[in-house]
């Protein structure tokens, strides 16, 4: 049973506006959302680079050198620069949103969002440091 609509049989002329295709450009917050969603494309882009790198590794020292040279192509550097900004954006938004999905309580009190997000950043730093350390250990 649908209450309240049951007797609304004489529909007046309702006016509906369609959401425009460019809805996401209407507001800064929507645009930010779209950019956040688009960051996923750059995530995938990086995975492709990674796969190419693995492929090169499989091909031996020669191929790997070639791959490294390829990465120096200015076009690719620019592209990677843009990608880097996007994945950075992804990481920051992602860490900030965690507290929304997870309510952490300490002695019955809900922890403020900032405190829940903070360990994310700490871990991020640690992991990044570890990777740099592993890669640079022997120069």
């Amino acid at each position: 049973m649908k209450p309240s609509t049951a007797y609304r049989q004489y529909h007046p002329k309702w006016y509906r506006t369609r959401v425009s295709t460019l809805w996401w450009s209407r507001r800064w917050s929507y645009l930010k959302f779209m950019l956040r969603e688009l960051s996923s494309v750059f995530v995938a882009f990086y995975v492709v680079i990674l796969l190419l790198q693995l492929h090169a590794l499989r091909g031996g020292p020669e191929a790997y050198l070639e791959f490294q040279e390829w990465l120096k192509d200015p076009l690719l550097v620019v592209l990677n620069g843009i990608s880097f900004l996007f994945v950075l954006f992804h990481a920051v938004t992602w860490f900030n949103l965690t507290p929304k999905a997870m309510v952490v309580r300490l002695r019955g009190k809900r922890l403020p969002n900032l405190l829940v997000a903070a360990p994310n950043y700490a871990a991020w730093l640690a992991i990044s440091g570890l990777i740099v350390f592993l890669l640079m250990r022997q120069g």
Binding site: M1, S4, Y10
Partner: protein, 594 residues
């Protein structure tokens, strides 16, 4: 767009006019008596928009050790200046805890003690702490809990945003209503075997009120026009603490938590009006926790002495919460802080809140017995629109929300029983409905000759009421008001309507509401004029004493077409508590009441 060819009249067993606290409680009660009874809830706003949503402070019911039903009854009766029917009050305090627990089971988020039990707070005029609260949004939480729970019952059909214009009465019993579906403008009769009016109060009859825009006394006028008397209409409650300009209420809970009322010299002036001596901590039934009528009257006397402050929206005094500290304010009174910050740009944690008395509640209403039944067969009423009466000459804060539950449930059960008698719909109903439709079209929708703007008439009515039926009244002013209201009713015949459309015609609604309010105003003025004594919220400067000889009685005012309304008196039911002196803030004197 209006379809009148379809003679299909929707019909139900029990029909509720109003989907506020009382209406929804009654609807559920009907369903619980018999799930096969079909219930219609007709409301001019979506139920969760009803005015119950604004109630802040709390709802009273005895639950704690050390409290007793007798004391709740006594507080209520003395608070009401012995105008309450004591059988009704006894039953009310008895059933209150059960109803409140029921609401707890339905999910109302009552504030709690650390051990998980329901918490209570003190309230004005109450000797014990017995007011249940959900922070300071009690009405909001109660209404949403009731509304959401009502969604569970399949037998309840809602007519959201349908505006009732008339009760259908034939063969001496009520058989349904005529209502306008606002969305389409369709005027439709809905029949029912019994009808419960739960339309709430009528604060909008006055200019400065805590009440929402929808509180226009609709149900009182509907009943009045159908020949049902209204009871105790002269008792209009002023709440001592409203924000100037908006009239937004600063809940009594702010005083219960320890707020002070101070005049322009920073002096706790209530001590000058026989309300006790100032103490740093709140003392029950004393000073700021005195009853609302006495506090509002004290304000007027301060005004006379020139000890109030003057602002752009009239005189005011200060409510001081600063000594409570941020923590108490944020946990117990967050909404007060929110409202002050928003509407006055004041932070009560560190600043004084400007307040003045404001029209708040109607003690009177449709005359009912303790089952919620009116003298008209099949018609019931509950909530603020009704007068059972448990509020007497002055309602105690936090009794109203409980009243919605107790008497909403009672009226629901009684109306269900009545509907089960299964009397058939009379043949004349359809013709009556057609007449009503013609009236609405003739007088409003199709009329283009009107000259009197709605806002002007409404404004004049409101200032008349404020001037003559306010906190202090005199015979002379009331007589003037009587003439003014009669004249306004005459002018209303020429009301101007610019909007002739059928789709969501809010102007038509405003016109109809104004006509209801004029009826209510007439009733208030008439009763106030006839009651030549002072009692509770009704204070006549020309008759300053209470007169139990003549007026320990309810006034019953009845509509007389083309003539002044007629007022009769019905003795107050006294069971255990003989009329006494109302004492606040000091031990009761032994002398017999005067």
């Amino acid at each position: 767009m209006i379809d009148n060819s379809s003679s299909e009249m929707p019909s139900h067993d029990v029909l509720l006019v109003g989907g506020g606290g009382a209406g929804l409680r009654a609807a559920i009660a009907v369903s619980e008596v018999d799930p096969n009874l079909s219930v219609a809830v007709v409301s001019k706003v979506y139920p969760m928009r009803s005015h119950t949503v604004s109630a802040e402070g709390g709802a009273a019911a005895v639950i704690k050790e050390g409290d007793s039903l007798e004391e709740h009854a006594y507080d209520t009766i003395s608070g009401g200046d012995w105008m309450c029917d004591q059988d009704a009050v006894e039953l009310f305090v008895n059933e209150a805890p059960g109803e409140m627990l029921q609401l707890e089971h339905w999910g109302c988020p009552w504030s709690r003690e650390p051990d998980g039990r329901v918490a209570v707070r003190p309230f004005g005029g109450m000797k014990k702490e017995r007011t249940w609260f959900a922070a300071d949004k009690t009405g909001f939480h109660m209404l949403h809990a009731l509304f959401q729970t009502s969604l569970k019952y399949r037998s309840i059909t809602r007519y959201d945003e349908w505006f009732v214009t008339r009760l259908l009465v034939e063969d001496g019993r009520v058989q349904g209503v005529v209502a306008i579906e606002l969305m389409t403008g369709r005027i439709q009769a809905i029949t029912a075997k019994s009808v419960i009016i739960c339309t709430g109060g009528c604060g909008k009859v006055f200019p400065f009120t805590t009440n929402a825009n929808i509180k226009n006394g609709d149900g009182m006028a509907l009943a009045y026009r159908a020949g049902v008397p209204l009871k105790d209409m002269e008792f209009v409650q002023y709440h001592p603490t409203g924000l100037p300009f908006t009239g937004i209420l600063i809940t009594e809970a702010s005083r219960a938590e320890g707020g002070f009322l101070i005049n322009k010299d920073g002096y706790r002036y209530l001590q000058d009006y026989d309300l006790g001596t100032p103490q740093p901590k709140p003392v029950l039934r004393s000073m700021e926790l005195g009853p609302r009528d006495r506090l509002s009257q004290a304000f007027m006397k301060e005004l006379d002495k020139g000890r109030t402050l003057e602002g752009p929206y009239g005189p005011y005094v200060h409510l001081d919460l600063t000594h409570l500290g941020k923590k108490i304010i944020d946990t117990k009174l967050p909404f007060v802080r929110e409202l002050c910050l928003k509407y006055e740009n004041i932070d009560p944690v560190s600043q004084l809140i400007p307040v003045r008395p404001v029209v708040h509640y109607m003690m009177g209403g449709v005359h009912t017995d303790i089952q919620g039944a009116t003298p008209l067969a099949g018609l019931f009423a509950a909530g603020e629109v009704a007068c059972v009466s448990i509020n007497g000459a002055n309602r105690l804060g936090s009794n109203s929300l409980t009243e919605l539950l107790v008497f909403g449930a009672r009226a629901g059960r009684a109306a269900a029983e009545y509907a089960l008698q299964n009397k058939p719909v009379s043949a004349g109903i359809e013709a009556q409905a057609a007449d009503e439709k013609k009236r609405l079209e003739r007088e409003f929708l199709h009329k283009r000759s009107g000259t009197e703007p709605i806002a002007v008439l409404r404004g004049e009515m409101q200032s008349t009421m404020e001037k003559s039926a306010g906190i202090y009244r005199t015979g002379a002013l009331l007589e003037e008001a009587q003439a003014d209201i009669a004249e306004l009713k005459e002018r209303f015949r020429q009301v101007a309507i610019q909007d002739h459309s059928h789709t969501f015609n809010t102007e038509l609604m405003a016109a109809l509401e104004l006509s209801y309010m004029l009826d209510v105003a007439e009733a208030v003025v008439e009763c106030a004029l006839q009651r030549t004594e002072s009692r509770g919220a009704h204070q006549r400067t020309d008759f300053p004493r209470r007169d139990d000889e003549r007026f320990l009685a309810h006034s019953l005012v009845s509509h007389r077409t083309g003539d002044r309304p007629e007022v009769e008196y019905l003795p107050v039911t006294i069971t255990r508590w003989p009329p006494g002196e109302r004492v606040y803030g000091r031990p009761a004197a032994k002398t017999p009441p005067g």
